[in-house]
């Protein structure tokens, strides 16, 4: 709201300044009036004019239940969850880029548009997350909000263009014609106002644009929060965003005006990552995913706010306080059974693939973000960047190549034979002095950590044990021989 007021202030100041420059006697108020009128007329035109122009332009086809029953069902589910009176109209665009958006200035005559690419990629829970996000745009009246703000941005740009060109054509006309009569401001005051107006005409559109983008990003976060509140399942939207962001096919149906309504920025391809700064309509997608995945305790606004503050590292408010006050705890639901089945199937395939990689001498690193990095046998760099989170992961020396690994295993065996002595490379867990009260079990080994990064060492049985940077426990159990190894940080 503050950003919106900021834009309005820029518009009003610009109008007043231009009016004043043209005619100091009462021209300021007239200019202000004209500026606001331009904005209102343009807004009215967009409200009553072709709201569905984008639908016609993009060749959107209306969807019927027999064409795509699941999509229609999911939209109806979300309509019920959002408590809307009318189901939004649903359209499909035949484009491969996965994306979706909402249009319509009033909730009663709104539409949700998805691309064919989106439908082919997402499972039921993910589709539900996307539709919930779009439904939230409709319920929060973001389409209205963004349209009005966008038109204000346009008015500011229009006014300053006209003014600057006018100044260029007849420079000084404004200043020279002026003879102070009964005005309260002297010639200096007058010059200051003119100068200020010129500055405003140059910088105003720039600021208005930044305000507009900030506004749009804020509404995106809000729509994400509302979407999880509707579905009670943040993971659905998170994994949908992940799938969508993995694609870099440009969307032809997008333009500057409707960009804020899409689920992800339609202009952000692979090279468009530089856009995700101040001049982007959408927050960086990895931040959105991170927030959603951090919502482990509930699917309500308070949880989203907490996850957002945690991600930003400072308590920035993203949910309006009125929303937080009305909030009530909401528990996260279970994933849809079909989705679980799909995941277990995928996991099985992944296990088999990993087994084959292990046979072929691949090494596995678990990144702190949870991704399993497969390091091919010939890889000779000391570190590898995680493909998901881009974090640098140092490769433990024992894993650099299978030659080194074999050497390490032999080293470990030597180490275990000469129990008590530490092997050279890699480090080997050492025997502690047996306390005698371990019964028939072998006494625990001891390993002293050297760094805070990745480390691997060999158990006395020769099995390699890896410690991640996130490892915080005081002991690990060897998966081969079951021996307990005390880890000393």
């Amino acid at each position: 709201m503050l950003l919106f007021i900021g834009m309005a202030v820029v518009l009003c100041l610009l109008g007043y300044g231009i009016g004043y420059t043209v005619s100091p006697e009462g021209g300021g108020n007239l200019g202000l009036f004209i500026a606001v009128t331009i904005w209102l007329v343009l807004s009215a035109m967009s409200v009553f004019g072709g709201g569905s122009l984008i639908l016609k332009l993009s060749n959107a086809r209306p969807v019927t239940p027999d064409l795509h029953p699941q999509l229609v069902n999911v939209v109806e589910e979300m309509k019920i969850a959002a408590g809307l009176d009318a189901t939004p109209k649903i359209y499909i665009i035949d484009e491969r880029a996965p994306n979706a958006f909402a249009t319509g200035l009033r909730p009663e005559d709104s539409s949700i548009v998805v691309t064919a690419g989106l439908l082919s990629r997402l499972n039921r829970d993910e589709l539900q997350g996307v539709i919930a996000h779009e439904m939230s745009h409709i319920v929060n009246r973001d389409v209205q909000f963004i349209t009005v703000a966008g038109i204000m941005l346009g008015s500011i740009a229009l006014l300053s263009q006209v003014f600057l060109r006018g100044m260029w054509l007849s420079p000084g006309s404004a200043t020279r014609r002026y003879r102070p009569k009964s005005s309260k401001v002297g010639p200096q005051g007058h010059a200051a106002i003119v100068l200020f107006t010129v500055l405003l005409a140059i910088l105003g559109p720039l600021f208005a644009r930044l305000f507009y983008f900030a506004l749009s990003r804020k509404r995106e976060y809000l729509a994400d929060a509302s979407a999880t509140r509707l579905t009670r399942y943040p993971e659905g939207l998170a994994s949908a965003l992940e799938k969508i962001s993995a694609e870099s096919i440009p969307l032809e149906a997008a333009n500057q005006m409707n960009a804020p309504m899409f689920i992800v920025n339609p202009f952000t391809g692979k090279e468009g990552m530089s856009l995700s700064g101040l001049a982007s309509t959408h927050p960086p997608i990895h931040e959105r995913i991170e927030i959603l995945r951090a919502m482990t305790q509930g699917a309500d606004f308070t949880s989203y706010q907490r996850a957002f503050s945690k991600m930003k590292g400072k308590p920035t408010m993203i949910i309006p306080t009125s929303g937080l006050r009305k909030d009530k705890p909401a528990a996260i639901r279970e994933p849809h059974p079909d989705v679980v089945k799909e995941q277990t199937k995928k996991a099985e395939v992944r296990d088999v693939m990993d087994l084959m990689r292990a046979v072929n001498g691949y090494a596995f690193l678990i990144c702190a973000c949870g991704l399993k990095i497969k390091v091919p046998p010939g890889f000779d760099q000391p570190a590898i960047a995680c493909p998901r989170c881009n974090r640098e992961n140092t490769i433990p020396r024992a894993q650099v190549s299978d030659v080194a690994e074999a050497a390490a295993v032999i080293g470990a065996m030597v180490g275990s034979l000469a129990a008590g002595k530490s092997g050279g490379e890699p480090p080997v867990a050492t025997e502690t002095a047996p306390k005698g009260d371990y019964g028939r079990e072998a006494p625990p080994l001891e390993y002293r950590r050297r760094t805070d990064g990745w480390e691997s060492f060999a158990c006395s049985c020769g099995k390699h044990i890896q410690l991640s940077p996130a490892f915080s426990s005081h002991q690990v159990t060897c998966r081969n021989c079951g021996r307990i190894i005390l880890v000393d940080a």
């Binding site: 029953p69 069902n73 109806e76 019920i80 969850a81 408590g83 009530k328 705890p329 528990a331």
Partner: protein, 185 residues
């Protein structure tokens, strides 16, 4: 001057109470509307079941029991009266249906049946719609009950006999773990 002030204050007070009354009526209607939404979906589920059982019967010769459990649960749910009764009967039906869906996994022929697939999607969405309608109903009941209990709307609520509504709870082990709704006062 004073002669003017008193009527103005009176009109303001009356207007204030009228607005509270109207807000209460609006909330009550929203609760009723949300309840009818649940009702619509529950009916839809009741309508789907005979069809589902009929389709499955041909394939599942050895699952008579599962199918009769569903049919019985359905007729019990259709006869239930109060909100609490309905909640119990419907959650029983939900349980029977989810057990049925597990059993279906053993009948690949049935799962390949086009008609059954369509029914399965319908059933899934109906289950979801029930859950979301319940969510929305409980939200509106919470608002309404809060309004009835809080000052000054409680005065108007007592005067015109606005009664608190029950929440629609499903008796399910997994749902029991969920933190209970708390009133904010």
């Amino acid at each position: 001057m004073v002669a003017w002030i008193i009527p103005i204050i009176l009109v303001a007070i009356v207007g204030f109470f009228v607005s509270i009354y109207n807000a209460l009526v609006q909330l009550r209607n929203r609760v009723r509307n949300a309840w009818s939404q649940i009702d619509v979906q529950l009916k839809r589920r009741h309508d789907l079941i005979p069809n589902l059982v009929e389709t499955a019967k041909g394939y599942m010769k050895h699952e008579r029991e599962t199918l009769t459990t569903i049919t019985e649960a359905r007729s019990r749910a259709m006869g239930a009266g109060s909100v609490a009764d309905k909640g119990r009967a419907e959650s029983e039906l939900s349980g029977a249906l989810s057990r049925f869906m597990l059993v279906v996994e053993n009948y690949p022929d049935l799962k390949a049946n086009q008609n059954f697939l369509a029914l399965q999607e319908e059933l899934t969405t109906t289950e979801n719609k029930i859950a979301f309608a319940r969510q929305s109903y409980n939200d509106s009941v919470l608002f309404y009950n809060n309004k009835i209990q809080m000052f000054p709307s409680n005065l108007v609520a007592n005067m015109f006999n606005f009664v608190q509504n029950e929440f629609f709870e499903l008796e399910d082990a997994s749902e029991k773990a969920v933190p209970k709704v708390q009133f904010t006062n």
